[in-house]
C-alpha cells in the first residue's frame, strides 16, 4: 500500500511536468499557426528558452522525453517513407535525376565547405552537408497546399526534386550511420560497403515485394493496422540499429515498403502520433543547446543561409526551366525549395552521440530557425518578385 502511494506521488509529478511541457508546445504551435509559419522553429525556440542555459530550466522526466524524441525521429522517417509509393519513387528516378543531381551538388557541397572553413572534422562536415542539402518536405507540401499551388505547373518539378531527396536519404542515412560509428580505414570501408549493400537489398525488396508486407499488415480495424505497423517499424528500427545502420533508416525503409491502399491509411493513422513525438524531438534537440552558443555561430549561419538559400533557388529555377515553365513559375519553384526543417534537425541529431564538433547542433538549430521561416515567407511573395522582374 505504501509502495503504491509513493509511486503515485512520482507519477503525479511526472504527469504535471509532462502536461506542462505539452501544453507549452500546444501554445507555441497555436501561435505559429496564427502567424502562418511552420511550428518547427517555434518548438526549437521553446527548447532553447527552457533548456540548457535558457531563461528557465524545466527538469522534466528526462528518460521519457529522451525516449519520446527517439520515437519521434523514427516516426518522422516512417512518414517520409510513407509519403511516396514505390511507383512514384521509380517515376521520380526516371524523370527527376538531372534536377536532383544539381540539387545535391549545389546544396550539399556548401555545407561541407563551410564545415572545413570553420575547421571542423570530416564527420561533422558530412553531417552539415546533409543539413544544408535536405529541403523540408513537410513544410513544403503544407505550404503548396495552403497557397493553393498544388495544381500549378511548376509543382511537379518541386515534388520530383523532393522525391529524389527522399531516395538520396535512403543511401545517406545508413552511410553516415556507419561513418559516425567510426572504425579504422580498411574496416570502415568494408562496413560502408556492407551498409550500402544491405540498404540496396532492402530497398529493392521493398519496392518489389512491398505489397506482401502491406497485405500482411492489412486489417479492417484501424487499431490493428496502427499497432502492427508501429510494432514492425520499431522492430526493424531496432534491428537496423543493432547492425550499425541507424534506426531511422530501418523505419524509413518500412515506410517505403508499405504500399497500396494501406499507405494512405497508415499515413493518416501515424500522423497524429508523429506530430506528438516529433514535437518532443525538436524540443529535446534544442533543450541541449545553450542559447549562448548560438552567438558565436551567428555569422556562419547567416552566410550559410544566404548561400544555400540561393542555391536552392537556382535548383528550382533550373528544374522548372527544363520543364518549360515561365519566369514567375521558376521563382515560385526555387523559393518553395528554400525551406529546411525536420530532416536537417534529424541529421544534426545523429551527430549528438558520436562526438562531432560541439558547434554543429547550435549551428543546425539556428540554420533551421532561419530557413524554416525564410523559405515560406519568400515563396509567399515569389509572385511579386516575378512580376516586378517581367514588368
Amino acid at each position: 500500500m505504501t509502495l503504491l502511494a509513493a509511486a503515485s506521488d512520482e507519477v503525479a509529478v511526472a504527469f504535471l511536468e509532462l502536461g506542462a511541457v505539452i501544453l507549452g508546445l500546444a501554445l507555441v504551435a497555436r501561435l505559429s499557426t496564427r502567424l502562418g509559419i511552420s511550428p518547427i522553429p517555434a518548438y526549437l525556440v521553446a527548447g532553447l528558452a527552457f533548456g540548457e542555459g535558457g531563461v528557465a530550466r524545466i527538469e522534466v522526466t528526462e528518460d521519457f522525453v529522451e525516449l519520446g524524441s527517439e520515437i519521434g525521429v523514427i516516426l518522422l522517417l516512417l512518414t517520409l517513407g510513407l509519403e511516396y509509393s514505390a511507383e512514384e519513387l521509380r517515376g521520380g528516378l526516371r524523370r527527376g535525376v538531372p534536377a536532383g543531381a544539381l540539387d545535391f551538388g549545389v546544396n550539399f557541397v556548401p555545407g561541407v565547405v563551410a564545415a572545413f572553413i570553420l575547421g571542423w572534422d570530416g564527420k561533422s562536415a558530412l553531417l552539415l552537408g546533409g543539413v544544408t542539402y535536405i529541403s523540408s518536405s513537410g513544410v513544403i507540401s503544407k505550404l503548396l497546399s495552403d497557397l493553393q499551388r498544388l495544381g500549378n505547373r511548376e509543382t511537379p518539378t518541386i515534388l520530383s526534386i523532393l522525391v529524389i531527396e527522399d531516395l538520396v536519404m535512403a543511401l545517406y542515412l545508413p552511410l553516415i550511420g556507419v561513418i559516425l560509428a567510426g572504425s579504422d580505414l580498411p574496416e570502415g570501408v568494408i562496413a560502408v560497403a556492407a551498409a550500402v549493400a544491405v540498404v540496396a537489398l532492402i530497398l529493392t525488396a521493398a519496392l518489389r515485394y512491398g505489397n506482401v508486407l502491406s497485405r500482411a499488415l492489412f486489417s479492417r480495424s484501424d487499431e490493428v493496422v496502427l499497432l502492427s505497423l508501429l510494432g514492425v517499424t520499431l522492430v526493424v528500427a531496432g534491428l537496423a540499429q543493432q547492425v550499425q545502420v541507424s534506426a531511422a533508416v530501418g523505419a524509413f525503409l518500412v515506410g517505403i515498403a508499405v504500399s497500396g491502399p494501406l499507405q494512405e491509411r497508415a499515413a493518416a493513422l501515424i500522423g497524429p502520433l508523429r506530430d506528438l513525438f516529433a514535437a518532443t524531438f525538436f524540443l529535446f534537440f534544442s533543450f541541449q543547446i545553450d542559447p549562448r552558443d548560438l552567438l558565436p555561430v551567428a555569422g556562419a549561419t547567416a552566410a550559410l543561409a544566404l548561400v544555400t538559400g540561393s542555391t536552392k533557388l537556382l535548383t528550382g529555377w533550373w528544374g522548372a526551366r527544363r520543364a518549360g515553365i515561365g519566369t514567375p513559375g521558376r521563382i515560385r519553384a526555387g523559393t518553395a525549395l528554400v525551406a529546411r526543417g525536420e530532416f536537417s534537425i534529424v541529421i544534426a541529431g545523429l551527430g549528438g552521440a558520436a562526438g562531432v564538433d560541439a558547434a554543429l547542433a547550435p549551428l543546425a538549430a539556428a540554420y533551421v530557425l532561419l530557413m524554416a521561416v525564410a523559405g515560406p515567407v519568400l515563396t509567399r511573395y515569389a509572385d511579386l518578385i516575378g512580376r516586378s522582374r517581367t514588368a
Partner: protein
C-alpha cells in the same frame, strides 16, 4: 475532344488539364484522399492557377451532373423545338407497379397511351430505344415522348400498383 494532359504528382495525386477552345487552361486535381480541386489557370502566367475550387465527393458529383445533364437537356430541347406539341417526360416505375416484371411489348404502352418509351435509365446506365422484349423493373426511370395527354396516361399506367 481537346488533348488532355495527365501529370502524376508524387505524394499528392494526379492532375489532368487541357486548353479550351477559347484558350483558357482548365484542370482537375485528384487527391489520393478523394478530394478534387478544379483549377482555372491564369492567362498572364499560364503556369499558375488563378482560381482553385475545392470539391468534395458530393460536390464533384453535382458539378459533373450539371455539366453532363445540360447536354442531355440541350439535346431534348432541340427535339421539342422540332416537333411542336410534343413533350418529353421522365416517369419512374415504382417497385410493385403493375408493369414491374412485364416485357415492354406486353404492356402495350404505345397503343394504350399514345406515348413512346424512348429510353430507360436503370442504375445510372441508360438503355436507349428498348425493344418489345425489354423487361421493366421497379426503380427504372423511363424517358417517354408523346402528347401531354398521352404522357399523363403513361404516368397512370406505370404508377398503378399491382392488384
Amino acid at each position: 475532344m481537346a488533348d488532355v494532359t495527365e501529370t502524376q504528382l508524387p505524394g499528392v495525386g494526379v492532375r489532368h488539364d487541357f486548353v479550351t477552345k477559347d484558350g483558357s487552361r482548365i484542370g482537375v486535381l485528384w487527391h489520393r484522399t478523394g478530394r478534387r480541386e478544379l483549377l482555372l489557370y491564369d492567362r498572364a502566367d499560364p503556369d499558375a492557377c488563378r482560381t482553385v475550387i475545392n470539391l468534395d465527393a458530393d460536390d464533384t458529383r453535382t458539378l459533373a451532373e450539371l455539366l453532363g445533364s445540360s447536354r442531355v437537356s440541350e439535346a431534348l430541347g432541340a427535339v421539342q423545338q422540332q416537333v411542336h406539341g410534343l413533350a418529353i417526360d421522365w416517369v419512374t416505375v415504382p417497385a410493385g407497379s403493375a408493369v414491374d416484371g412485364a416485357a415492354l411489348g406486353d404492356t402495350a404502352v404505345r397503343t394504350r397511351t399514345g406515348a413512346s418509351i424512348v429510353a430507360v435509365i436503370r442504375e445510372g446506365a441508360t438503355v436507349p430505344s428498348p425493344g418489345p422484349e425489354f423487361v421493366l423493373a421497379g426503380g427504372d426511370v423511363t424517358v417517354a415522348v408523346g402528347t401531354p395527354e398521352g404522357l399523363e396516361k403513361l404516368h397512370g399506367l406505370l404508377e398503378s400498383l399491382d392488384g
